[in-house]
Amino acid sequence: MRREYVIINEQGVHARPATHLVAKANEFKSSITVTHDTTTVDMKSIMGVLSLAIHRGALIVVETKGPDEVEAMDAIDRLIKEFNMR
């Protein structure tokens, strides 16, 4: 599955929310990636996600692939939307 988001949280995806995203991604078997600009990283890798330095206004693409890709997408979708609301 593939979904696109625009990050509207003032601080961008800083260290703490990145940790939450990675912890959530690690709950699933599917491969999960996040792409920003032209760089794609594994969402289960904390250093990878942090290296993107995702700022306010950034477009990111989340892709899930595997046996629980739908559940994974739903869970991450909830987390990103919740984060954007803050």
């Binding site: 260290a15 912890a23 904390i46 950034a58």
Partner: protein, 311 residues
Amino acid sequence: MALTIGTLVDDFHLQVISGAGGLNTELASPQLSRPGIELAGLFDYFEHDRIQLFGSKEVTFFGWLNESDQEIRVDMLFQRKPPAFIFSKHVDIPAVFVHKGDAYNIPILKSSLRTSALAARLYQYLFSKLAPRESVHGTLLDISGVGVLIRGASGIGKSEVALELVRRGHQLVADDRVDMYQREPGIVIGEAPEILKHYLEIRGIGLVNVVKLFGASAYKEDKTIMLVVDLMHWDDKQDYDRLGIDNPTYRIFDTDVAHARIPITAARSVSTLVEVAAMNARLKFLGTHMAREFADNLAQAIHRKGQSKKE
């Protein structure tokens, strides 16, 4: 732990002037009393379970009293049966104290230290001997000056970690059982029970005396516990600290001690992890928080990128 006046006399090289019959009295309170106000006649707050410490101030004031007041107030001091009277270096002990000491079997003692130095040393000594103690299953090491208490289930490898770290030049304090007491809020001291001092127990080898094996520098008598490390088997369901931005703590008595939970697997060198955890704690004590520096750098990078996209 029971502490008698006799032990105190030996440890502080005190001179027993009279009242030697009371040397087996056990001390109950780690506090001291300077009974100046009692000599002045106020006994409502008399801390009679404490050692009574007399310096020049108390004795000079006592000299100002007339003889009948002296007699009455000294009797009131002795009737409540304090454990001992200690006089500091430059004090002439009034004769009435010497007589009463023998009459009541309460030791009258003379120190070679000045009052303030004597009080400070007595406080520290009494607290270390009489403060509440707790024993914990774990291993205590001094890793480059950081006191690290390693805990974890039996057989997880605490002693093996200790052996490896001692080989790398760090010091063993206690293996398997650590006795702890709080010297003051913020300072918890750990040490080995007397019989276990110097020893490590390594499965398959047995008891190892680290002083004989590695020399005197491999061992330390006691150490302030500055970091608690919990070793645990890796559990996929557990969420381990990834960045180390938070400063979790673990409470011992009234003291919050830095706390790290380290999951172990076959691929992870536990000794190195514990050593790095100790160095990280040391850096934090020195004011450098590596994870927070990283988070700050990241926040700035995100901010810069956001700004340049707007333009």
